[in-house]
């Protein structure tokens, strides 16, 4: 599903170039739930943005379903993104002037499509926000907004869901709700999920955990591994 090889990314700040990703090889199977952990500033978000085609790498390749997106134009990347990728950001990023309904159907709208009838309601039901269609984002709590963001990331039934600290600033109970929701979708729809998190409890939902450090993958474990817990306890706060 996702195949990343020799991925490098550097930023230019003034005269300096700062290498952020220093050669990442990484792949995700279809239907897999992968979690990326690692210290702050290690390049997790950068990787996720590259996967979503929001940015281009300095070198290396990213294949989504066999298509190399790094060689595509911004427009082509947008077209791929609007079809196959659902994005969830740490700080919800809802559009303030659109109603909840309009926010959710936005990815479909961008693609020139209309939501099949009942679909938004069904999603809202699933994220436990039935009846909120007409409200505006600023009338919702943080957890509710994040759930809208999840509904929005799922409306176009993307095959890949990329989530950057989706529970980053939620309390335990709320984040647990959100993660349960993601897990449900993962089980029901067999979506491929890549989730960046700082939260061990969130990591617990994944099939596989990838540890990022200093722009490279330092280690990986799968749920079946013996030293899964040891691994986690070493790297998580």
């Amino acid at each position: 599903m996702i195949n990343v090889s020799e991925l490098k990314k550097e930023y230019k700040t003034g005269k300096e170039t700062v290498p952020v990703l220093k050669g990442v090889d990484f792949s995700v199977k279809e239907g897999e739930f992968v979690c990326i952990i690692g210290p702050s500033g290690s390049g997790k978000t950068t990787l996720l943005h590259l996967l979503g085609g929001l940015d281009t790498p300095s070198s290396g390749s990213i294949q989504l379903d066999g298509t190399d997106i790094t060689s595509k134009s911004e427009k082509m990347r947008t077209l791929i993104r609007r079809k196959d990728i659902g994005l969830i950001f740490q700080n919800y990023q809802l559009l303030p002037t659109l109603t909840i309904y309009e926010n959710i159907v936005f990815p479909l709208h961008a693609d020139g499509k209309k939501a099949p009838s009942g679909k938004v309601e069904e999603l809202l039901e699933a994220v436990d926000l039935a009846g909120y269609e007409k409200r505006f984002p600023n009338e919702l709590s943080g957890g509710q907004q994040q759930r809208v963001a999840i509904a929005r990331a799922l409306i176009h039934e993307p095959s890949i869901l990329l989530a950057d600290e989706p529970t980053g600033n939620l309390d335990r109970q709320r984040s647990s709700d959100i993660l349960d929701l993601l897990a449900t979708f993962h089980q029901e729809r067999k979506q491929t999920i890549v989730m960046v998190t700082h939260d061990m409890f969130a990591a617990g939902y994944a099939d596989r955990i990838v540890l990022f450090k200093d722009g490279v993958i330092e280690a990986e474990v799968t749920r079946e591994d013996e030293d899964y817990a040891k691994f986690l306890s070493r790297f998580m706060a």
Binding site: K75, T78, R82, F89, Q93, L95, P96, T97, Y101
Partner: protein, 819 residues
């Protein structure tokens, strides 16, 4: 659901006040433009219509060099196959038999028509039947005389006739509106030719014969034929031309209208630009989210495009409505200031509305082109994290801006009536620079005035430097225009008076039906109070072709010494062709230059003249030619002088001189023109325009002041959090208010200072320009300075009021949570 206009509506009205003010700016811009266009095209239409009516449907006219000629002379000349229809007319003075204070008030100028059913003269019927032979008078005459259709009117020493029709004032017949006006003007009436001939004992005599050629004939060849046939006689033929430029000097006014239309639309475009640009910057983050969710650059542009379309459409529709009203008002003022008769006219609305609608819809898009492009290119990640590349871009852009600004300023210094618009574009581009300079002075000033608050205001101005500079630049344009125009209006009457005095030729000009005899001139010279009297000739209806191939006509006046004009430019060259001096307006219309040889159709047929010089003259506002006496007599075949220019000893002698003229020649005097009266009329016409212009200028400054309001709204909105924090830390509401007003004042004063400097520059450029009307000297009237400066500052204060109020109302709690 999303594609609906509801979302666009929500987006543009997100900040209600800003939306409202931008809308007002667009509405005003569009309406001023519509108004100007309507006034201009309606006025042009009236002129055309008047010209058309005056020319009628005839193609040619045959006149004599003497006032009258016998219609027998035409016999055998006119080929029946060539003339479709002909009309003989006789013009003759008379006196109506009515009670008046003075005999001058009863003077009537008759036109005798040989045929009342001709297709060549078009009369705007009010009552009665113009095809019925009888007396036709105008509504003014009917009112003053108290007559109706069917009433009998008698004329002294002539006879009486029944009124068959009353017509509206217009191109053919015009009568004074009041008895005061009648003192200097004739009533005009149409009577049957044979009756007029009989009344005046001028059997078979006519003044003019006009005719329509059969269709399909080569008119140029026909003209040459007739010119040849009439060569050597005292008759001559001229094509009939619709050209009233000699009587209406409207180019200057059109220019001002165009200028105001362009500037108002320019300023409101800038306000729109400021708002769209800000709104796009503000929504950087949202745009980035949309892109991350699958919007392409094009989708983003479409979205914003729709919003602008919304704004532009609403603004344009409202603007058109107000503009039509404004146009009608301006039109009314114009008609009463320039056209002294009350004439009926139709307001020309369609084209102006179409043009303004197109411009109104399009210009916000032009203004938004840059921001739109930027919006499409919004980088997702930077925008989402709140970083912005603005700064680096701005630096690069700044250099380009300065270079362009210098280039535009250079173009603006070229001596051309439109080039100085570039000066203003240069002003806008260079404004951030001027702003920095000027604020070296105003900054400390405000600090003294407002203390810490002033300092704070100056600091926060820096935060949105480009926007503030643009806003101040708009005000500067308004102020400099106001200064220039009001200086022009201030010095214009004096200049005109000077001009008329210098070139009128005498204190009194009298035109007689028949030529002045030398003995008569001598007699006048000997009359009491009269210093000098000189007869001169005026050759009417000299026709020629403009560069675009249109026929034009003017008069050529004879001169002995050059008291009727002032030389602007003269050449040393000589030519085989006789020399002629051309008035500046005529020369511009001819598309010729000093030193050229130009062909005219004159009483002597087709004649080449050598343009010896260009002159400025009060006669026909410069739409005339001048040739020496001898040349008029020989080359123009015009031996007689119908005009006399009289100088009196002093002003008190004028009535005496007039009385003397009337007593001696009253019967046959056609017109008497007084220099003083001319000056008075010119001035009063100007003062009517003056009010109009002041009104329009205030409108232009008001539009730029709206820009200030809008900018302050945006500035305070972006600093909501900051202002809230200040309030939380102990700033009072009124401190916030003063701070915002100080900010507005800084913008305003900067604009006023730069505007004043540029205004003075424009006045100077104008005074040294060859292109501009020469009566503008370099002077800066104090009153103009006061109007421009005080107007700018007062409008700034007004414009800062509402934003300062709403800034002080910011709720501390909400402000601190504001994203």
């Amino acid at each position: 659901m999303l594609s609906s206009f509801r979302v666009s509506w929500r987006n543009i009205t997100r900040h209600k006040k800003r939306f409202l003010f931008t809308l007002i700016a667009i509405v005003l811009g569009v309406s001023v433009m519509t108004g100007m266009l309507i006034a201009k095209s309606t006025f042009a239409n009236i002129m055309d219509e008047q010209e058309r009516i005056a020319a009628g449907n005839a193609d040619f006219r045959i006149q004599g060099t003497k006032a009258f000629f016998s219609s027998n002379e035409l016999e055998g000349l006119l080929d029946q196959d060539q003339v479709k229809e002909g009309l003989a007319t006789l013009t003759k003075q008379g006196l109506a038999d009515i009670e008046t204070d003075s005999p001058e008030q009863a003077t009537v100028k008759f036109t005798g028509l040989s045929d009342f059913q001709n297709g060549m003269i078009e009369l705007p019927v009010k009552e009665g039947d113009v095809t019925e032979e009888g007396l036709i008078i105008t509504e003014n005459a009917a009112a003053l005389w108290g007559k109706e259709v069917g009433d009998l009117v008698s004329f002294q020493n002539m006879g009486s006739l029944k009124i068959t029709a009353i017509v509206n004032e217009g191109g053919i017949l015009n009568s004074p509106k009041t008895m005061e006006a009648a003192q200097f003007r004739d009533f005009e009436a149409i009577v049957p030719l044979d009756i007029l001939q009989e009344w005046s004992g001028m059997n078979r005599q006519i003044t003019e014969y006009r005719f329509q050629a059969e269709e399909g004939l080569d008119q140029q060849a026909l003209l040459t034929d007739y010119q040849n046939a009439l060569a050597g006689t005292d008759l001559f033929v001229q094509p009939i031309v619709a050209d009233t430029k000699a009587y209406n000097d409207v180019e200057g006014m059109y220019f001002v209208f165009d200028l105001i239309a362009i500037l108002s639309i320019f300023i409101s475009a800038f306000i729109a630009f400021n708002m769209i640009n800000t709104s796009i910057l503000e929504r950087n983050n949202e745009i980035a989210i949309m892109k991350s969710l699958g919007y392409t650059g094009r989708n983003v542009i479409q979205l914003i495009f729709k919003e602008i379309l919304f704004l532009a459409s609403i603004g344009t529709v409202l603007g058109l409505g107000i503009g039509v009203w404004l146009g009608i008002v301006v039109q009314d003022v114009l008609i009463s200031a320039i056209v002294t008769q009350n004439i009926t006219y139709q307001v020309e609305i369609l084209m102006p509305v179409i043009i303004s609608a197109a411009v109104g819809i399009v210009f916000p898009f032009l203004a938004a082109a840059m921001p739109l492009y930027k919006a499409g290119k919004t980088p997702i990640l930077e925008a989402m994290s709140g970083h912005s590349r603005e700064i680096t871009l701005a630096n690069k852009f700044n250099l380009v801006r300065v270079i362009l600004g210098v280039a535009c300023t250079a173009v603006g210094l070229i001596d051309n009536v439109w080039a100085f618009l570039f000066l203003f574009i240069g002003l806008v581009l260079l404004f951030p620079l001027w702003m920095k300079l000027i604020q070296l002075v105003t900054g400390p000033m405000l600090r003294v005035l407002f203390g810490f608050l002033g300092k704070q205001a100056a600091r926060s101005l820096k935060q949105f430097e480009k926007r503030n500079a643009n806003t101040a630049a708009m005000l500067a344009i308004g102020v400099s225009l106001a200064l220039f125009m009001s200086a022009a209006l201030e010095t214009l009457p004096e200049g005109m008076e000077k001009d008329i005095r210098a070139t009128f030729g005498g204190d009194i000009i009298a035109e007689k039906e028949t030529a002045w005899e030398d003995s008569e001139i001598d007699a006048i010279r000997n009359m009491e109070g009269i210093e000098s009297a000189d007869a001169y000739a005026e050759v009417p209806n000299v026709t020629w072709y403009s560069p675009s191939g249109e026929l034009r006509e003017f008069s050529i006046l004879s001169f002995e010494d050059s008291s009727m004009f002032e030389l602007i430019e003269v050449t040393d060259q000589t030519s085989d062709s006789p020399p002629i001096y051309i008035g500046d307006r005529a020369l511009a219309e001819m598309g010729a230059a000093v030193g050229d040889v130009f062909t005219f159709h004159t009483p002597a047929g087709e004649t080449d003249f050598f343009i010896k010089g260009v002159v400025q003259t009060a006669h026909y506002s410069g739409y005339a030619g001048f040739a020496e006496d001898a040349i008029v007599r020989e080359s123009l075949n015009w031996p007689l002088n119908y005009h006399v220019a009289i100088d009196v000893a002093d002003e008190e002698s004028v009535p005496m001189a007039l009385a003397g003229l009337r007593v001696n020649y009253g019967e046959s005097i056609e017109t008497i023109d007084l220099m003083e009266l001319n000056i008075e009329q010119a001035k009063s016409g100007l003062s009517g325009m003056n009010d109009l212009m002041v009104g329009l200028l205030i409108l232009v400054i008001a539009i730029s002041a709206i820009g200030i309001s809008n900018t302050l709204f945006m500035n305070t909105l972006e600093r909501t959090k900051e202002l809230g924090t200040m309030r939380a830390l102990g700033f009072t509401k009124s401190q916030v208010r003063i701070m915002i007003i100080a900010e507005g004042l800084l913008i305003g004063i900067t604009g006023v200072i730069a505007g004043t400097l540029y205004g003075i520059l424009v006045i100077y450029l104008n005074s040294v320009s060859d292109q501009a009307p020469a009566f503008l000297d370099f002077s800066i009237p104090r009153s103009s300075l006061v109007i421009a400066v005080a107007g700018g500052i007062v409008f700034t204060l007004l414009a800062s009021w509402i934003p300062s109020h709403s800034a002080s109302q910011i709720s501390i709690k909400e402000a601190i949570n504001y994203e």
